[in-house]
Amino acid sequence: MKKMLIALIAFAFTSTSSFAGPKIEVLHWWTSGGEAAALKVLKDDFAANGGEWLDMPVTGGGGDAANVALKARIVAGDPPSASQIKGPTIQEYDQEGVVAPYNIDPIAQSEGWDGLLDPMIAAVHKCQNNSGPYCAAPVNIHRIDWMWANKAVFDSNGISVPTSWDELNAAAEKLQAAGIIPFAHGGQAWQDATVFEAVAMGIGGNNYYKNCYVDLKETCLRSETTVKVFDQMRKLQGFTDEGSPGRDWNVATGMVIEGKAGFQIMGDWAKGEFTAAGKVPGVDYYCAATPSNNGYLYNVDSFIFYKTSDPDKQEGQKLLAKLMMGKNFQKVFNLYKGSIPARLDVPMDEFDKCAKTSNSDIKTAGASGGLVPSFAHGMAQGNTMKAALQDVITEHFNSDMSSVDAANALADSVLDNM
């Protein structure tokens, strides 16, 4: 019996240690419903290609807990092979020296990522200040500047989808007069900022947005246009109900679904709530871009690949990068998640109306200079600056601060954190 046990243990050890092949340890927080199902597709693909996947899911706080776990492992000198990191934060980790050498760059070159991605989105995934080798892989593109509206509510009040902010205000006033909450909003800092950036791009225009929120020019932040953006925010605040502060985004979406409220401004993950409630775009609800001049606010989820000396893990990183950017995963994952593939050559036949609009709009926006990174979702700025902007926006939205004061506070907050 004892001998058998020893043999069994020995077998168990040899069987793991003798494994030679691609190996990957992935730290992520995709553990719920559609995301978990989509990730399983990737895991199965990985296994089918002879790889071994060590899963490290960390749930809680929309990635907060995962970020804490990640930092702890990096400080301990044992980073996972890959984790969910996006936008400028990719560069911050690169500057800490935990990414180089860039193991996945050869794959990116041989697969021709430069040709598959929009150049702006490709740059996000290149280390050494967005111009060096690839060190991260994108999995999707979320659009932020969406307006989700209840079609029955709009129709019965004789409202069509607004194409300007003035029309939107008029529509909201009409709903308010009819006793319906016009604007379903969750008063949390990130949601206030989400609405703000859609307003800023719409009212200020694409160049204004880039000057202010990508390049952080002081004159732009203090300008008359910023004051107008805050004015519009104040109007929108008047269209919310008093239960709004602190509400979660999906509760606000639920208000639109049930017809208690007219519309919500939220990224395309809100679509999942409509789908789960059995609603069909164009029939039960509208998904329309918020008014802007061919603008498109993007938010891309990515995986970054850390430095590792284990050759098996290096192989694993290459295989994972290849599969992640593969047409199959990009399609299946985004069907689940409500976003669109980061690769622009994936056939859109199986996607719904909203995703098709998103896919064609991003191409128009890309060609006309309207494709801009979302700062509220950490694509335009690192975490420090994002919070600096967000703090002022949410303070203005939740107080009686004047628009001029808010514009100046925004500029001051940015300068303080430079």
Binding site: D64, N67, V68, K71, I74, V75, T89, E92, Y93, E96, V98, G187, Q188, A189, D241, E242, G243, S244, P245, G246, G382, N383, T384, K386, A387, D391, T394, E395, H396, F397, N398, S399, S413, D416
Partner: protein, 278 residues
């Protein structure tokens, strides 16, 4: 004994020193070890959000302390009257203490939400103009945190005072009554002045709860509306994990540490001195 001392030495005092060191570095997303000076402290005291957090802490601590002690004493005196079913009542008052602040915060969030809780109830009863919107009003939201905090902790203060009152010898009360003192005078002039150590203990416990309070705010307001109910502990975690400013966060942690130390050290000192005097 020795391993425990070693573990506490490292995991408590070691990390306090580590945090102190980090607060003098320019650590951003990950800790760095080159010294940078007092820049983080300068930045901290120039930050509007931190100043709001400090203001809130002062308001919260003052009100939390006063209401907990006053309500705690009143409840303790009532229970001290040899009433029926004292055990049951004591348990009811003390029970909130068994809940975590997260539960307290979530429950009060629903009770105070104007579209779900008290306000809606009164409106449904026909008081159309009734408003109670403190939770969503940026000027008043900090007081909702006081309400929830007092609800949770007043029972604990009651228990401390009840134990204190019960430990007083019956003869003292009887003697006072013979001298013609009424019940109010007995408590006000004799018993409460004897409760000085209990006041002191309550003060130390409540103040350090309020300086560290984090979970209650996360559950109740998440620092909102806007940033109006930010408190130091919330500022610290947000700065470290959302803003990627580990150095600045360490500086705020040290400020909190000093505030707690300012309360605890005199307490420990007086306790130790009393023991030595024996």
């Amino acid at each position: 004994m020795a391993p425990a001392v070693g573990l506490i030495g490292w995991f408590v005092y070691g990390f306090v020193l580590w945090t102190l060191y980090i607060s003098f570095t320019n650590s951003k997303i990950l800790p760095k070890y080159e010294l940078w000076g007092v820049g983080q402290y300068v930045k901290l005291w120039g930050s509007r959000k931190w100043l709001i957090a400090v203001d809130n802490l002062l308001i919260f601590t003052a009100l939390f302390l006063i209401f907990c002690v006053v309500i705690g004493i009143i409840l303790a005196i009532f229970l001290d009257q040899k009433i029926r079913a004292e055990g049951v009542l004591r348990t009811i008052y003390l029970y909130p203490m068994a809940l975590s602040f997260i539960v307290t915060g979530t429950a009060w969030k629903w009770i105070l939400n104007p579209t779900l809780g008290i306000q809606k109830m009164f409106i449904d009863w026909g008081f159309e103009n009734f408003t109670f919107d403190w939770l969503v009003n940026r000027e008043m939201a900090i007081y909702t945190i006081v309400i929830a905090g007092v609800w949770q902790s007043a029972g604990f203060v009651m228990a401390l005072f009840l134990a204190g009152l019960r430990s007083v010898e019956d003869e003292i009360v009887k003697a006072a009554k013979i001298d013609g003192a009424n019940l109010f005078t007995v408590y006000w002039k004799i018993l409460l002045p004897m409760m000085r150590p209990v006041f002191f203990t309550s003060f130390v416990i409540l103040v350090h709860i309020s300086i560290k309070s984090y979970d209650l705010i996360v559950a109740l307001t998440q620092g909102g509306p806007g940033i109006s109910t930010t408190m130091p502990a919330l500022y610290m975690t947000q700065t470290a994990f959302h803003k990627s400013q580990v150095g600045l966060s360490a500086a705020s942690a040290m400020m909190m540490f000093m505030a707690v130390a300012a309360v605890i050290i005199p307490y420990l000192y007086s306790e130790l001195r009393r023991e030595n005097a024996r």
